[in-house]
């Protein structure tokens, strides 16, 4: 096993521990454990950073071209964004919702073939890291918006239905959750837009075409319109709360579809089959 895989597995393990601690905090109301969980998560994130850096070095290109790499990168981006948001909001309960998402992505990622491939000459461009970093940063922020949306719907349901479970006391106020939605949108939407534009510019440089209507591009555009509608609604006609939460959840589902279905199952420029070159002869 190469070192980057070892580090990846350690990161997965640490994320699992952090998730357990967060859930322990929320379910058994031990606030101190939530604080410990944050530091565990930071530790896991650092290990994950190292794993990705090594993978990058070993692969000779940005490590997002196989399902294993892309999922791991996705989980890394989500944890990173969460930690940034945590600086502002300091809410362990969000961690209890976000961490499981990252862990699931990591587990799926670890089940995928991890073999290194020959660098794909097509991806040997500075546009590649720029394009995927912007896109994944947007994905991660929208993942947070989705999680905040789920929390909003849960809390709203309890407040409307006047039926209170223990979760009611642990979830933050509707205002904060809606605020997270707005903030995610205002960061995520520009990132996604730039991700799409950078892809178009790169496509033009590589193939002489800005837009080729490959399924990934179509889905991305559709999702972009969805978020654009939400942003517009928020800014002009006072969409908020429940509607914004539902939009954030649907938007993220679209992202997941474009990520899993389009990349994994179709045969286009964005599919993993096209991204990956031939396997390297000696993985070490």
């Amino acid at each position: 096993m190469s070192v980057n895989i070892l580090l990846f597995k350690i990161a997965l393990l640490v994320y699992l521990v952090a998730t357990g601690l967060y859930l322990f905090d929320v379910l058994l109301r031990r606030e101190r454990i939530g604080r410990i969980a944050r530091w565990v998560l930071v530790g896991g994130f650092v290990v994950h950073c190292l794993a990705l850096a090594l993978r990058w070095f070993d692969a000779g290109q940005t490590p997002v071209s196989s399902p294993h790499e892309a999922l791991s990168f996705f989980a890394w981006a989500i944890v990173g964004c969460y930690l940034l948001f945590d600086l502002r909001y300091r809410l362990a309960i969000i961690g209890a919702f976000v961490c499981p998402v990252a862990v699931v992505l990591m587990i799926v990622s670890s089940a995928m073939p991890k073999q290194l491939r020959e660098p794909n000459p097509l991806l040997d461009s500075w546009w590649f890291p720029v394009h995927v970093s912007l896109a994944f940063a947007g994905y991660a922020i929208f993942a947070l918006a989705c999680v905040a949306g789920i929390m909003y719907l849960l809390q709203e349901r309890m407040l409307k239905g006047k039926h209170f479970t223990g979760l009611y006391f642990r979830l933050p106020s509707l205002d904060i959750l809606d605020n997270i939605n707005a903030r995610c949108l205002s960061f995520g939407f520009p990132l996604m837009t730039m991700g799409i534009i950078s892809g178009a510019v790169w496509a033009n440089a590589a193939w002489g075409d800005y837009w080729r209507w490959d399924p990934k591009e179509t889905w991305a555009l559709l999702t972009w319109f969805l978020y654009a509608a939400l942003l517009h609604g928020r800014l002009t006609i006072g969409w908020r709360g429940r509607r914004a939460a539902i939009f954030a959840i649907i938007g993220f589902c679209c992202l997941l579809i474009s990520f899993f279905v389009v990349n994994a199952m179709t045969d286009t420029e964005h599919s993993f089959r096209a991204l990956q070159g031939v396997p390297m002869v000696t993985p070490r």
């Binding site: 409307k160 006047k162 039926h163 223990g166 106020s173 205002d175 006072g238 908020r240 709360g241 429940r242």
Partner: protein
């Protein structure tokens, strides 16, 4: 030395007994002095609130002390002992410590987590130390109880959820709006509860108050009270969109706000959420308004429901608190045990050493021909005998001291077997005998 509690509370006695046993806070000196005058009682504190009357005491002979305290309570309040006794409980040793820590942490209160009890115990302790009826042990004990209560308060959320309807409304508003500082509250009608809730909102940072009432003067008066603005009842709906929180309590026979009106208001507010609290019976607002997005409508029953949920939450937090109390009880019990163990070991050693010295003197004075070397080896031998003989009992005492808890049995046995004199409690803290010794020691 043992700590003990004799008393009654809302759990064991109805109010007509509790009110007869209560001590007047203005006249605590006489009863306190009488209690420490009891032959078996060394130190005492009397806690008297509307829900409980308890005497905390420490004594060498807890059984006698308990019966003397029962007797005292009956005699002092002129209640036949037969009538009072079934309502009294008594705890001794670890149980007593546990009980007092729980009471101070408000785990034994009628409304769990209510904050008054701690202050009441502090006041009771204040009287006791003013009249010098507490010494080393109860001083330490009550300070420990206060710190346990503080720990419970800071480490659990036992007191954090409102158990009154009007305060529950404030907390709900926080769950909806986050902060209340830039919010506006509107009062429609002026019921007493409405006013109380409005006061809570103002105390929690609401920035603006609007008041409307059928009689405008009443509205103006109330508005002045809250530093707010009065609005004519005829066109208050026109101002409704400014209010984030609306409290209604008019005497109107039907709904004064229907769903359609509120749909218009929420549109005008650009969907900013609204929290409507309908305290009126019959209700003022059409309950179907709750179906509108971003409107949260609560009536009196809903608020009661919140209070119930809060109480349930407090009970869950109480479990955490009980665990804290238990560890603290262990610690204190250990301290109390050590208080007796160490002097007993010292006394035991001294007793044997005295015997040894006495016998050595006798023997050595008869054999004047012995040389220094022989004398020394006889001394060493006798010392060794004592050390070996005492090794087992002393290590047993030390061991049970480290294990915490129940070394009282051993300590008492060792003292009885070897006739050791118990260390006197601080003589200065025991007030002069004021003629109460006619009370029987044992019934």
């Amino acid at each position: 030395m043992n700590i003990l509690v004799v008393g009654l509370s809302h759990k064991t006695a109805p109010v007509d007994i509790r009110e007869r046993v209560a001590f007047a806070p203005t006249a605590m000196e006489a009863p306190l002095k009488q209690v420490v005058g009891l032959p078996a009682v060394a130190e005492a504190v009397i806690v008297s609130t509307c829900n409980r009357v308890e005497i905390y005491a420490c004594s060498r002979d807890p059984e006698a002390a308990c019966s003397q305290l029962r007797h005292f309570l009956a005699e002092y309040h002129n209640i036949p002992a037969d009538e009072l006794n079934p309502h009294l409980y008594e705890h001794c040793g670890g149980e007593a410590i546990h009980h007092v820590f729980r009471v101070a942490s408000s785990l034994d209160s009628m409304v769990i987590g209510e904050p008054q009890i701690l202050g009441q115990i502090k006041t009771a302790y204040g009287y006791a130390s003013e009249f010098k009826t507490v010494g080393l042990i109860l001083n330490r004990f009550l300070h420990k109880a206060f710190s346990v209560a503080k720990r419970v308060r800071t480490e659990t959320e036992i007191a954090s959820n409102a158990v009154s309807v009007s305060f529950a409304a404030v907390e709900l508003a926080r769950k909806i709006f986050g902060t209340l500082t830039d919010k506006t509250v509107m009062l429609i009608g002026a019921g007493e509860m409405c006013e109380l809730a409005a006061r809570h909102f103002v105390n929690n940072g609401i920035s603006q108050v609007l008041v409307t009432n059928r009689t405008f003067e009443r509205a103006e008066k109330l508005a002045a009270e809250f530093g707010g603005r009065a609005v004519l009842f005829n066109d208050y709906v026109e101002h409704l969109h400014q209010a984030d929180i609306v409290l209604t309590s008019t005497g109107a026979p039907g709904f004064i706000l229907d769903r359609q009106q509120l749909e218009g208001v929420i549109k005008r507010r650009k969907n900013r959420p609204m929290f409507l609290i309908d305290i009126a019976v019959p209700r003022d607002i059409d309950p179907r308004a709750n179906d509108i997005d971003n409107i949260y409508l609560y009536d009196v029953d809903d608020l009661q429901e919140v209070v119930q949920a809060n109480l349930k939450e407090r009970h869950k937090e109480a479990k955490k608190a009980e665990a804290i109390v238990l560890t603290e009880v262990d610690q204190f019990h250990q301290w109390l045990g050590n208080l007796d163990v160490v002097p007993t070991i010292v006394a035991l050693r001294k007793k044997f050493e005295d015997i040894r010295q006495e016998e050595l003197q006798k023997t050595l004075s008869r054999f004047s021909s012995l040389g220094d070397k022989e004398r020394k080896s006889i001394e060493a031998m006798t010392a060794a005998i004592i050390n070996k003989a005492l090794h087992q009992p002393i290590s047993l005492l030390k061991q049970c001291k480290d294990d915490s808890g129940s070394c009282d049995g051993y300590v008492d046995a060792v003292r009885a077997l070897f006739g050791l004199v118990p260390p006197e409690p601080d003589a200065g803290d025991t007030p002069a005998d004021d003629g109460l010794n006619e009370l029987p020691i044992k019934e």
